[in-house]
């Protein structure tokens, strides 16, 4: 506790000084931010462990709770446990055998022979934290979720690899070479940012159909592999690399491919990591385009699979939430491992 106080009280001026009100305001602001950012995620994770009925109950609880059930001798099924107030004012934990109208017939688990009749407003369910893990296990068993997962993984990994490769090649060309129309080409690439996917959906769909790629994962991977954002991001980063390095490599008899692959690519790593994170998130969360070109269940990606839980008449919220968590986890992990690249600056380039 003392250590915590010291940690919180530490200021740049030196240890042991009391917090200034601006520090308290900063912490409060930051704490508010944390709640704002992580509150919904936390709620999602907790809710994913709730049973279907617990999800619908009002008022909602943050933690996944479930009523305790006990097995009572002489009863075929486990019975729900209640805390009942008896007419004599004593409080007892009783299991409910059945409910008739406003009266519940209850039994004491300790004395299975003795039954009680309790008005339903005189009893309260006994609850404990219970994780409804079947939300996770059921869909994995019942639906082809592993299939969707592997499809999503394949799309994400392959598409990201292709994106990094071809975008960096385009960026290299636009950053390193001098040629007529270079600026126009760059502007054209950036200009495509202004065209929303809904506009090109139909023409691209026609192309994909012509190529016979419908219901193939390549139909998801290929059309989006070249991204203007990626080209622009990498080009801007490559422009900051010292030209001397490229010329030094030319003097060192490196071919253009070697300059690209062995000099520029390793030095562009921070920007590539950023693009990789973007690409992974785009591809993992992509919905509209896969929905258009993937119509068979066996080629569904996770996002399309998730949508299957949302029926026209009813939504299986407990499964939907659990599978949303499963879907979120990989992206979150990727971000945890790669985020340091985002914050890594240019680093030393060996130049003075």
């Amino acid at each position: 506790m003392a250590a915590l106080a010291r940690l919180l009280g530490a200021r740049r001026d030196g240890p042991g000084r009391p917090l200034h009100w601006t520090d308290i305001a900063s912490y409060a602001y930051l704490a508010f931010g944390v709640v704002l950012m992580f509150g919904p995620v936390l709620w999602l994770v907790f809710s994913s462990f709730k049973t279907q009925s617990a999800l619908l109950e009002f008022p909602p609880s943050l933690m996944p709770m479930a009523q305790v059930e006990v097995t009572v001798a002489g009863q075929p099924n486990p019975l729900p446990l209640f805390r009942a107030t008896l007419p004599d004012g004593s409080v007892k934990e009783l299991a409910q055998i059945r409910r008739v109208g406003l009266v519940a017939q209850m039994v004491d688990p300790a004395e299975p022979d003795k039954t009680y009749r309790v008005a339903i407003d005189k009893r309260e369910p006994v609850r404990k934290v219970a994780l409804a893990t079947e939300n996770y296990t059921e869909p994995l068993r019942q639906f082809a979720f592993l299939r969707f997962l592997s499809n999503s993984l394949f799309v994400t990994v392959v598409a990201t690899a292709i994106t990094l490769l071809i975008n960096s090649m385009a960026a290299y060309g636009l950053a390193v070479y001098e040629f007529r129309g270079k600026t126009a080409a760059t502007l054209a690439v950036i200009g495509t940012l202004m065209i929303p996917i809904t506009i090109v959906l139909v023409p691209v769909y026609l192309v994909v159909t012509e190529l016979g790629l419908v219901n193939s994962l390549w139909a998801v991977i290929l059309p989006g592999a070249a991204t203007p954002t990626g080209v622009f991001l990498l080009r801007q980063y490559m422009l900051t690399l010292p030209r001397d390095l490229i010329e030094a490599a030319r003097m060192d008899k490196a071919s253009e491919w070697q300059i690209y692959w062995r000099i520029v690519m390793p030095l562009t790593l921070p920007a590539l990591a950023v693009l990789a994170i973007f690409s992974i998130m785009w591809r993992w969360n992509e919905f509209l385009w896969p929905l258009a070109v993937l119509t068979k269940t066996e080629v569904y990606t996770l996002q399309i699979g998730l949508a299957a839980f949302q029926g026209e008449l009813q939504t299986q919220w407990h499964y939907l939430l659990a599978m949303t968590v499963v879907t979120l986890a990989p992206v979150a992990l990727v971000f945890v491992f790669l985020q340091r690249f985002i914050t890594t600056g240019i680093g030393s380039t060996g130049m003075k």
């Binding site: 030094a248 490599a249 030319r250 003097m251 060192d252 008899k253 390793p266």
Partner: protein, 360 residues
């Protein structure tokens, strides 16, 4: 090892002419220094030789072979950049081996060459380090090592010492000279520092505004500058260039210098009376004349004591400030009037175009 020949090399960037037809021959094993003020085109000339820029007109020959349109990677030259341009993601050993790997040499040969260069440059202990873990001087040596392992036809240096501190610069300069003596390769070196040029070069090429002003051995340039620009550029402190008017040139040349008339006891050049000339005299060739025989009276503005010598900056009405270099330590005070005499054998004369008037 190879020789180099440039004929009428021109380079224009858009509408801007940077090189106006350079003719130059560099012999095998020669150490040539390009020197000139910023923007004179010396770096561009080096890049043209390297193949990093292509000439707009003219020819480049290396070893008798026409390489005018050959890209840098095929010319077989090595270059040390001003920024060193070490590959930051590679270790010192990999930096040096990179070119050899591109040349597809066998691994054993690469290792042997890197090891030899590292020993020569005292880098053996640093082979596994990345450039950012090296000091400036060590990075410099890696950059040189990267050139040495190649065994190139010509070494090109683009202001390699300008990022080092003064002390290290002097040390590295000596090492470079020793390296040239040891390797014996053809080296072309670009600098704006005339001291580097004087100390390193077999021959100096002085450039100004894309043209060669003079080519020659350092002392030739120092003793017989072809024009006022070279005279002013080579030598530190710079040569005093004083405007003068010819009074008469009959046997002895008599000049009006400020308010005074001085006689230059040199054979006649046949100058017309009244024509304007520039008189050039180096600071060490002006002597104090305390006991008569002074040609000019100067008023001391500033004295810089360097211990072994003193630099005196002094003025005379109608003339630019004159620098004197006096041996030992000077007791002159600001404002003192000193009579001075010019060493007659060391007077340079330049015409109105700045060209040196030939000594008879």
């Amino acid at each position: 090892m190879a020789d180099l020949k440039l004929t009428g090399a021109r380079k224009a960037f858009g509408a801007v002419d940077v090189l106006h037809g350079i003719d130059l021959e560099v012999k095998d094993g020669e150490f040539v220094v390009f020197v000139g003020p910023s923007g004179c085109g010396k770096s561009t000339l080096l890049r043209v030789i390297a193949g990093l820029e292509m000439v707009s007109a003219g020819e480049v020959h290396i070893d008798g072979e026409r390489v005018t349109h050959l890209p840098a990677s095929d010319r077989g030259l090595a270059m040390v950049f001003q920024s060193y341009a070490l590959y930051p993601h590679m270790t010192v050993a990999r930096n040096m081996a990179f070119a050899l790997e591109n040349m597809r040499l066998p691994k054993a040969e690469i290792d042997a060459r890197v090891k030899r260069a590292a020993e020569m440059l005292r880098l053996t202990d640093y082979l596994d380090r990345k450039p950012k873990a090296l000091s400036g001087g060590q990075r410099q040596r890696v950059a040189i090592g990267r050139a040495i392992v190649r065994d190139p036809k010509i070494f090109l240096f683009d202001e390699p010492l300008s990022n080092l501190d003064a002390e290290l610069r002097v040390a590295t300069r000596k090492e470079l000279a020793a390296l040239h003596a040891e390797l014996g390769g053809t080296m072309i070196y670009v600098t704006h520092d005339q001291v580097e040029a004087m100390t390193l070069a077999d021959r100096i090429v002085v450039l100004r505004a894309g043209r060669i002003e003079q080519v020659g051995a350092p002392l030739d340039l120092y003793n017989r500058p072809a024009n006022a620009f070279v005279a002013g550029f080579i030598g530190s402190p710079r040569m005093n260039l004083l405007p003068a008017t010819v009074i008469a040139d009959d046997g002895t040349l008599r000049l009006r210098l400020g308010a005074r008339e001085i006689a230059v006891p040199q054979a006649t050049r046949g100058l017309r009376a009244g024509s304007a000339v520039t008189l050039g005299i180096r600071p060490e060739h002006i002597a104090l004349a305390p006991d008569g025989g002074g040609q000019l009276d100067l008023t001391v503005d500033l004295v810089e004591q360097l211990g072994s010598e003193a630099l005196v900056y002094a003025g005379h009405a109608g003339l630019p400030q004159i620098t004197l270099r006096l041996d030992g330590q000077s007791r002159l005070a600001r404002g003192a009037t000193i009579p001075v005499r010019f060493s007659p054998d060391h007077i340079h004369l330049f015409d109105t175009d700045g060209l040196a008037l030939p000594r008879p």
